[in-house]
Symmetry: C2
Subunit: 262 residues, 2 copies
């Protein structure tokens, strides 16, 4: 591997530069990139110049730096989550139309939920998820679903903490979290009134590709007495998406989903 | 810039490796990556290993290589097309529901249309567009819209050719293309019966952010006598998306769009 003088590889530095950008920081000055990437200004300037030449980055009319459309294209056209997102979008569109609240799709990435798609509408209840944003597994309804079906090793690591808390209702204690994960497996879906925001309830179901849970499909609805009723259309949309992903697959998990509401 | 022995930078090589993957080649063996990236196998193996460590690439259970979810996350969360896509998805969902045919959103990237979003349905008419796929500006309805509103220099370069042809109806001659671009500007939208496939008609409208055309919103419908009628809901959806992008902006282009159908 080509190692420049600093001892850190070019790839490591390039990733640090890409990592400087986020949903709230889509456009940065060169010195902001340097500071956020923790790289010397001269190194940053050289790398930004080369990455811009390849379209990984772009410069706007004020010479500020942003992620390049080519970078997006390289990541998206062979994206590992593309089939899932394309299949999900139709069912999410139907669900969103029927329930009138935000719906999102999350996958397990490291020890967090990574949201790969989201449909929202003006005036929906507060919703902290963003496309390509992350949330802790213990705090979000999608996270509880993914954690309930995760490999034992990962689940035990997460259970040992630390567990992030957002409200007094967040499951931030090991015993309570462990009990709720068992309940999510038994019931077939996660129901989280006020776990992230007092005014919002997260509901999420597992999405099966055959026997494997590959994602969690969720809704964020107002935290009131009607919230529970939204689990019915959500379960239906989750089942429909699983069928679309693997039309002839075995469906062990679906028995639970089907019966969880009764 | 750190330049390894070959004279080509690490970034150049890494981009070549990422570029080996595409919609039809999402999973590749190491030797396929090496061949497609035109890099020695040992160099490819070293770079793939490091890129995998950073999540830019991933390995499946057969040790084959694919784009990493982290790569997608880095590109997507600060994506330059994200606001546009998020705003467009709702209007595309409405349009798709109303017309029952595929709808897609394209932006100008280099001298091609890059499709950044697409909603489709089983049983729709044949449609060659893909999310993060490209089409030539002269051949597609979205391309004609973007080319009609492109800077003069780019338009003249594209007009000089070469112009790709798909069917006898593709605009692959300079004079015909120039005349149609004037017509697209006058009429406000592009109408392309059989230009890419004999059975399909592409229709596309410009999406304005204020006075600037930032994208083309399109439909692919069957190539029959009813095709023209789909321009009405498409124009409406394009106007609605432009309003969503810049609620208080100046709207010079919309006058044309509004009057083009009469």
């Amino acid at each position: 591997m080509a190692e420049p003088s600093g001892g850190e590889s070019v790839i490591t530095r390039a990733v640090r530069i890409l990592d400087a950008f986020g949903p709230e920081t889509t456009v940065l000055s060169l010195s902001e990139v340097s500071r956020r990437a923790r790289l010397p200004l001269a190194t940053t300037a050289r790398l930004v110049k080369e990455m811009t030449r390849h379209g990984l980055l772009d410069r706007d009319e004020h010479r500020r730096v942003l992620i390049g459309t080519r970078m997006w294209e390289l990541a998206e056209r062979a994206s590992p989550v593309k089939d899932l997102r394309e299949a999900a979008l139709q069912h999410m569109g139907d669900l969103h139309a029927v329930v009138g609240h935000s719906t999102q799709l999350g996958v397990l990435e490291g020890e967090e939920v990574l949201f790969v798609e989201r449909l929202t509408a003006p005036g929906s209840v507060v919703n902290v998820t963003k496309i390509a944003g992350r949330l802790p597994l213990n705090a979000s309804s999608a996270g509880l679903v993914l954690l309930a079906h995760a490999p034992d090793g990962l689940r035990e690591r997460v259970l040992r903490g630390p567990l992030r808390s957002y409200t007094p209702h967040t499951l931030d204690r090991e015993a309570a979290l462990r009990a709720e994960l068992a309940e999510v497996r038994r019931r077939g879906f996660a129901f989280c009134p006020g776990h992230i925001h007092p005014e919002a309830t997260g509901v999420a179901v597992p999405v099966y590709r055959g026997r494997r849970v590959v994602a969690a499909l969720g809704l964020v609805v107002p935290n009131d007495e009607e919230a529970w009723a939204f689990s019915r259309p959500l379960v239906l949309a989750g089942l429909a998406l699983g069928r679309a992903l693997e039309p002839n697959g075995a469906r062990t998990g679906e028995r639970v989903l089907r019966s969880g509401l009764r």
